[in-house]
Symmetry: C2
Subunit: 339 residues, 2 copies
């Protein structure tokens, strides 16, 4: 029964023996180097096919000192932003000849982050992209093995590492100004969790715009990014609220439901703006006005920044902001004083 017991992997030496050449010649053929006569090349290729030869990447990595792999440390793929960013990273990395290794951190405790960083030090990666939006990163950065190339997404570590991020603040500004421009006296805000940098940055921008416009700053609402939490926050909005900027689209969905249940029409009575522009936003009832994030571009820039580091040595800290833009749909309209 052939194949019952898996044979050893085929090495260059095996191919060389079958082809009757030296293993170095096999190596040359495998790497497409010149200096191998056509007939020999054919011979070697035939032997490779016959034996099903596949290069051993461990040996190759050992030889070259590089893995052609990037690590991505994150908490979860469940948030829209993360999965889309990771997808873009994977795609861009593949285009550059790199594979990506996922290093999930289960629960966002500091211990776990430290553990992931430690493990990562032993992983076969040439560089790391950290997608950890919470403040935990602060304390953990000290544990990052020295000499490891790092790019951080969505954080305020811009003083220590190269950071790529969506221009959260500008997106929030656009959202709030849009609502003020529609004549609303002020704008309520339902923010994400306090530990999140994005949430803080969006909330901060919201507050600043209101203050600069001399408008009252209403009490802030809080959610945990989930639609359910948005629903609860929506129920808590006061009756005089005519415009609300919600920190992400999922929570905005919950807000729409809460307002609906309270008999408040959107946008006639209340205008709602979200953030992210998830694919479903245009199918909400009503279609959601929201801030579009270019996750793909974030992923792309991450990879480029990291590869640049790997190629040219450590990069200067700093923040690279990807622009956002407001997409106006049906959930916002001009202010009409409430009876």
């Amino acid at each position: 029964m052939p194949g019952g017991r898996r044979k050893q992997r085929v090495s260059m030496a095996d191919v060389a023996k079958l082809a009757g050449v030296s293993s170095q010649t096999v190596s040359r053929v495998a790497n497409g180097q010149s200096g191998v006569v056509e007939s020999t090349r054919e011979l070697v290729l035939a032997a490779m096919r016959e034996l099903g030869y596949r290069p051993n990447s461990a040996a190759r990595s050992l030889r070259y000192g590089r893995f052609n792999t990037l690590g991505v440390i994150l908490f979860g793929l469940s948030t829209t932003g993360n999965s889309r960013t990771v997808e873009a990273i994977a795609t861009q990395a593949a285009a550059e000849g790199y594979a990506i290794t996922l290093i999930p951190v289960g629960v966002p405790t500091q211990d776990n982050v430290l553990g992931a960083f430690t493990r990562m030090g032993e992983l076969a990666v040439d560089g790391v992209i950290v997608i950890i939006e919470v403040h935990l990163l602060d304390a953990a950065t000290v544990a990052l093995p020295p000499g490891v190339h790092v790019v951080v997404v969505d954080s305020d570590a811009g003083d220590r590492y190269p950071v790529v991020d969506t221009d959260q603040a500008d997106g929030a500004r656009q959202a709030v100004r849009h609502l003020l421009g529609l004549g609303h006296p002020t704008v309520w805000h339902i923010a994400g969790p306090a530990e999140s940098f994005s949430a803080e940055r969006r909330a901060q921008a919201w507050r600043t715009v209101l203050e600069e416009a001399g408008r009252p700053v209403p009490a802030i609402g809080r959610g945990d990014w989930s639609a359910e939490s948005g629903y609860r926050a929506g129920l808590a909005l006061p009756d005089e609220c005519s415009a609300v900027f919600v920190a992400n689209d999922q929570m905005a969905l919950g807000v729409l439901r809460a307002l609906h249940e309270r008999g408040r029409r959107v946008p006639a009575d209340v205008s709602v703006v979200g953030f992210d522009d998830i694919a479903e936003a245009s199918s909400f009832l009503p279609p959601l006005t929201t801030v579009h994030q270019d996750f793909a571009e974030v992923g792309r820039r991450c990879v480029q920044a990291l590869l640049a580091q790997i190629g040219a040595g450590p990069a200067a800290p700093g923040t690279d902001l990807v622009p956002t833009h407001l997409v106006v749909r049906g959930s916002t309209t001009g202010y009409r004083s409430v009876g």
Copy 2:
């Protein structure tokens, strides 16, 4: 300028020299083997810390012949199911001491799939999980390098590989039976793309239940899983439709919007059932009755099945189905004859 040029990585030999022991002793300490006296261990650990030693996983892999890494081939993380399955896979793999490498296939053409499989052959992975729901897999399987351990998700490759999948058919049956049980004369269906196995299996089960119940089988609608396509399909539903089973929650969202625009109330005039139970489903207007999929369990079983193969040799083909269950919310209600 120290650090301007990155120093060579620290090897066991460096640590050994500093600690004044042999590299083998360093190896023993690094792997926590017994047979090293405490004082020596301390010495070595101190040297490791001082030099910032980190084991080289390429050398380790070369030595052991294993990578402790699993590959995941997929088209994209943009679908809810994929990203949640991948997350579960990553988590479970991490718990078992394995990292996971993502191998994205950009556009689902056969060439690209073949390319990914070829590349994968050269990747540093001990096994592969294939998450490719479309029929393209058929032709591509021939390209899977022999001797590579494989588990497939969401496919009909059960005759060739071990397959783990959600029990699509049973979920669809529950959905349709629920609607019939509410008194609806028949049930419309908006299916996913024809190339998708899941879509086909859900549609097939829908048809079978109707036929077994002796009900008329209405013309099938089609979408591409997106909310937008669900919207279009919803606009196309005939007026006499009182119950519709939509192949995923995103499309169901679009259907809800379409029905709303047409002035048809849900669930009073039309009952709607989705599939997936995404987190947002409970915040739709109205909250969506849908079939819950346990993506986490799928991911877990994938990893377990794959590791079992790696440990014990090739596994028999076959399909491992993860149960689903219907979650009844506000989008379905008893049939009332229309006008």
